[in-house]
Amino acid sequence: MIEISKLIKKADNKLILRGIDLKIGKGETVAILGPNGAGKSTLLKVLATLIKPTSGLVKINGLELRNNQMKIKKLQGYLPHSSLLYEHYSPLENLVFFGNLYGIKNAEEKAVELVKEVGLSFFLNEPVKNFSRGMIQRIAIARAIIHEPPLLLLDEPHTGLDQGAISILNNVILSMKAKGTTTLMVTHDFKQAADICDRIVIIKNGKVADDFRMEEKALDTVSEKYQLQVEGVS
């Protein structure tokens, strides 16, 4: 699904990504861990075609990132730190707008269905600006998956959510996974990473520091390896 080789990103002479090599197969759910400023968000932004890499090759579904932006944009659902929602609009209006942009048919039906799935049917027509962080995040994930993308890029989706919201979010991700969606998820929450992901990639200082599969849901393994790589404790 994703092939990244020798990916380098410079900003003002500062190397943010220094040669990332990564291969992710179809249907995998991958957690990306790493300390702040490691370049995780930058990596996701490159994949989402938001920033151009300085050098290196990125292929998504066999398509070169540089030359097939339009096709690749359709394949992805991207959820960054911010919600990408219009504040004066209600969840329904937001989702219908983005659904139409992606050219899906019956955008309205789909929007109503998704709002129900994230448990906010009651607030369907309230403006988003009155929502709490958890509610906004649930609508934001609905926005990212409105066009049923085969690839999901999530940047710290669990940050600032309560337990209920986390489990709703996880259910959405798992149901997407059941449909064969590939997911890349940046997170600081080891428990969620261990719970829903089947592969962990640790990024440090713009490089892949570790990359391993999760055989069973072993939270201990994750934190152990993370500490080894990041804090140098063994």
Binding site: A11, D12, N13, K14, L15, N205
Partner: protein, 253 residues
């Protein structure tokens, strides 16, 4: 003048960081600039005749016109390098575009100060809303805006990209601005080359023409020298920040 342009281009392409050439070219440019400026001063003040109606003040005309030419040349160079930058995204193109725009603004300022002096003695008014002068004023505003874009905060490639876009827009605007202003108000400027149809004494004597051409050559050489020097300085500045960044990183790790 075309010979000048050729030399100009030669200077541009050879000022890439080849070590020996890199020292030789600015030296030659510097020498040529000094000699031609001295020659132009001689020609202007001693050789060429004093104009009948205006007297000595007319001498300012040579550098006024030559600066105007350099203004145009400088912004044209910015335009070309802006296009090159957007196409190739090489930092060196952006540096040329930026330095050239800065020099262009300096020349524009010269034109805008010599213009009113000329206007005062020729038309007895400090500022004339005359097409070429007004266009130059607008040019000055456009390229000040260009420099403002460069002063934004952010990473260099973003600033370079936005400035290049504006460099292209601004330059394409120039002929239209000139055209519009000429339609709007055209009564003052003497037509210098060829026979002015209505203005008497607007033509130019052969000795004045020689002085003018030498002045233009001199300022063009000065421009190329400044451009070359400015780009070298800018490159050094970039190198220094690169080293600093490297040092900082080495210290961190």
């Amino acid at each position: 003048m075309s010979a000048n342009l050729e030399r100009e281009k030669g200077a541009l392409s050879s000022s890439e960081p080849v070590a020996e050439k890199g020292i030789l070219v600015p030296k030659i440019l510097f020498g040529a600039t000094v000699i031609s400026i001295l020659a132009s001063i001689y020609l202007i003040f001693i050789y060429s005749s004093i104009e009948k109606t205006m007297g000595v003040v007319q001498k300012i005309f040579y550098y006024h016109v030559a600066s105007a030419w350099c203004t145009f040349l400088a912004f044209f160079v910015t335009f070309i390098f802006s296009i090159l930058f957007l196409a190739k995204r090489k930092r060196i193109f952006d540096t040329y575009a930026y330095v050239s725009a800065e020099i262009g603004v300096v020349f524009t300022t010269i034109v805008l100060t010599t213009g009113p002096i000329w206007a005062k003695s020729s038309w007895n008014t400090w500022w004339a809303w005359e097409p070429r002068l007004t266009t130059t004023l607008i040019l000055w505003f456009i390229y000040m805006a260009y420099i403002m874009i460069r002063q934004m905060d952010g990473v260099w490639d973003k600033k370079a990209r936005l400035a290049s876009v504006f460099g292209i827009i601004g330059f394409i605007d120039v002929p239209i601005v000139f055209f519009a202003i000429r339609w709007w108000q055209s009564k003052f400027h003497p037509i210098v080359f060829g026979n002015g149809p209505s203005q008497k004494g607007g033509g130019i004597e052969p000795d004045m023409l020689v002085a003018l051409l030498v002045s233009i050559t001199a300022l063009t050489l000065l421009y190329s020298y400044l451009l070359q020097k400015g780009v070298t300085l800018e490159n050094m500045r970039i190198k220094v920040t690169q080293y600093k960044e490297k040092l900082r990183e080495d210290l961190e790790n």
